[in-house]
């Protein structure tokens, strides 16, 4: 299948405030593809750089280096006027609908605003399109003449989605679109996004720290830590057989809404390091339960462990094709040089041997 988007070695650094030669390294050397009709989930905690990646795609922040190939054109270096002609094809939905909805505009006007990126549309065609897209996202007609403050958070987010959909884009960056919503409203928005994708074959970059939503909507997932992708693969690969110590810790932190499932913890110690003074070697080594001396000096590369499941960790080696249930994984022991997973039933499974 053809890639809609191909990001190659994307880097974004910001000057650190108050220091002449220091930088905040928000994104370092990130590469990924998105195919037509596909959803890539970009997961990470605050400070992981996931939001910056999404914003680079729309040139809301300017990439420092790297290529962003969208519909066969490198948009990373393109001048902004040329990029404008492509902007109708790539849209964004923000976490805060207020960021994209002008409080002085009616909902209809806000939804229709991106149509100014589309040439040769009459007024009538525009208003027809607004009504059509509003119907698709289930915004009742009487809400179209209201102002943002008159709608609930869920309805506003529907308007945000309608605004993104109105130009028939190829790709939508969904930047934490549900994280401020109550779970019942979140479920509705998720259903809406999945429906729209099935109907229009639009691709999504779903940026979120909410792992339940990511698992639900994504075909493939990339996990970010401190500006880098540490693991990527299909949703099944990453959620059912996570290999990177960071991914495993992240998944084990999710509180499953079922007391019958035993909760297994694989906690990381401490907090995410500063993106100004990043650790040497593997960025996770300061918090990693299976770090060895080499992790402090060797920078790990993303290695394909089979079928596109790629992991950046020198402690994880290619695996036989085992699939684990998420809750079977307990911990790693490294006293004999093996990365291991221990099942809740007491069975031990070897995950991979140490590589020197």
């Amino acid at each position: 299948m053809a890639s809609i988007l191909s990001v190659e070695r994307l880097v974004k650094r910001f000057p650190a405030p108050g220091a002449a030669k220091a930088f905040i390294w928000a994104v370092s050397d990130v590469s990924f593809d998105i195919e037509k009709g596909e959803t890539l989930g970009l997961v990470g905690e605050s400070g992981s750089g996931k939001t910056t990646v999404g914003r680079c795609l729309l040139r809301l922040v300017e990439p420092t280096s790297g290529r962003i190939v969208f519909l066969d054109q490198d948009i990373a270096k393109m001048n902004l006027r040329d990029f404008r002609s492509l902007r109708a094809k790539i849209q964004i939905v923000f976490q805060e609908p207020h960021e994209s909805l002008d409080p002085r505009m009616t909902i209809a006007a806000a939804i229709g605003e991106p149509l100014k990126l589309v040439k040769h549309m009459t007024r009538l065609e525009q208003s027809d399109r607004i009504i059509e897209v509003a119907r698709q996202v289930l915004i009742p007609k009487e809400d179209l003449t209201k102002y943002p403050h008159e709608l609930s958070g869920g309805q506003l987010q529907r308007a945000g989605v309608a605004r993104a959909m109105i130009t028939n884009p190829e790709l939508i960056v969904l930047d934490e679109p549900t994280s401020l919503l109550d779970s019942s409203v979140r479920a509705e928005i998720m259903e809406l996004l999945i429906d729209l994708q099935q109907k229009t074959d639009v691709s999504y970059l779903f940026v979120s720290h909410d792992l339940t939503s990511v698992e639900h909507i994504s075909h493939r997932v990339a996990v970010m830590y401190l500006g880098k992708i540490v693991e990527t693969g299909t949703t099944k690969q990453v959620f059912e057989a996570p290999l990177h110590p960071y991914t495993r810790s992240l998944l084990s932190s999710v509180l499953v809404a079922d007391p019958a499932k035993e909760h297994v913890r694989a906690p990381l110690v401490g907090e995410i390091p500063s993106p100004i003074n990043r650790p040497t070697g593997c960025f996770l080594h300061t918090r990693c339960p299976i770090a060895i001396d080499a992790c402090r000096t060797v920078t790990p590369e993303l290695v394909d462990l089979g079928r596109g499941h790629r992991v950046s960790c020198i402690r994880v080696a290619p695996l036989p094709s085992q699939v684990f249930a998420r809750n079977q994984l307990v911990a790693w022991t490294d006293n004999r040089g093996f990365a291991r997973a221990e099942g809740t039933d007491g069975q031990r499974t070897e995950l991979g041997t140490e590589r020197h």
Partner: protein, 307 residues
């Protein structure tokens, strides 16, 4: 407008009660009521709040202040916003301690340092001199917990204590809170909108809808046999597991308190609503040992959910 209406909750010693509700359900109003902190023009119209046998609604403000902070500890979300930005955190904790004891400032500060150590703040001696803006969100939440436990309260009220924190930090904070509550032998009222938190950290749950408790049960019973259609909708939404059938997540919005529907407050959104639901308000009924539900049609609902 009545934000909370006829809510009865009981917190047994050592118990962690999860008060579950979405935006506008009235869950925070209940917390403020217990603390006697309902902001005017709001007021408590009736009822009783008993702590260790004393009615908090009938004691004087002075007395209430003594109880608050000594026997009741409060942990709120977004701790940084609730700490005084101009005072080192160690001094703030020391003040919370010395306002309920006769300790000298020096002793109180030492207690603060010890408490920071209990909540796993690294280098507590130095951190005690830090100001709130120097803390990360997770650290600030630990400081908040330290402040809440410094007087060894009998009851802790935690109002969405991990709202807005990353999942790995959330797990650290909730584990810490559970450990501290355990070692104090305290009871906790844990206010949350997250069923994952309820499943993992609570012993009982009370589900709030439009200011009323609609279901309450021990946690295992609740997750195995939910009976109220609203609870079931929340469970489906939380897990996004629509097992084969696309379960109708909850449609619509909670009612406006000024304009409550007649009958059951949930009826406009309920798949099971019948004539009686639109005419008569149901009361909480015990449907299994210690399991109460406010629904006329809980039998059909439970059967449908099982199928």
């Amino acid at each position: 407008m009545q934000a909370v209406d006829g809510v009865s909750l009981e917190l047994a010693a050592g118990e962690t009660l999860g008060l579950l509700g979405e935006t506008g359900s009235g869950k925070s109003t209940i917390a403020w009521s217990v603390l006697g902190l309902v902001p005017p023009p709001g007021r408590i119209e009736g009822g009783a709040i008993r702590l260790l046998g004393r009615d908090l609604l009938s004691v004087q403000e002075e007395e209430l202040r003594r109880i608050r902070g000594k026997q009741l500890g409060l942990i709120v979300q977004n701790a940084r916003a609730h700490l005084n930005p101009l005072v080192p955190i160690g001094v703030q904790i020391a003040n919370a301690y010395s306002s309920h004891t006769e300790a000298s400032p020096r002793d109180a500060f030492q207690v603060a340092v010890d408490t920071l150590e209990r909540v796993a703040i690294p280098d507590p001696e130095r951190r005690a001199r830090a100001f709130p803006h120097e803390l990360s969100g997770g650290m600030a939440q630990r400081v908040m917990i330290a402040m809440a436990i410094v007087n060894s309260p009998r009851v802790l009220i935690a109002d969405e204590p991990t709202m807005g924190l990353d999942v790995t930090i959330q797990a650290q904070i909730l584990d810490l809170l559970a450990d501290q509550v355990d070692s104090l032998g305290a009871s906790t009222l844990l206010i949350t909108r997250d069923l994952g938190i309820v499943a993992n950290y609570c012993t009982r749950v009370a589900v709030l809808y439009a200011g009323q408790v609609v279901e309450t049960a021990p946690v295992n019973e609740f997750f195995r046999h939910p009976r109220h259609p609203y609870s079931i909708g929340l469970l489906d939404s939380a897990t996004l597991q629509y097992v084969g059938r696309r379960v109708r997540p909850l449609k619509g919005l909670p009612p406006d308190f000024i304009n409550l529907p007649p009958g059951c407050r949930f009826n406009p959104r309920c798949l099971f609503a019948s004539d009686i639901c639109r005419a008569t308000a149901p009361s909480l009924e015990e449907v299994a040992p210690d399991h109460f539900v406010r629904c006329f049609r809980h039998k059909e609902v439970a059967e449908w959910h099982r199928s």
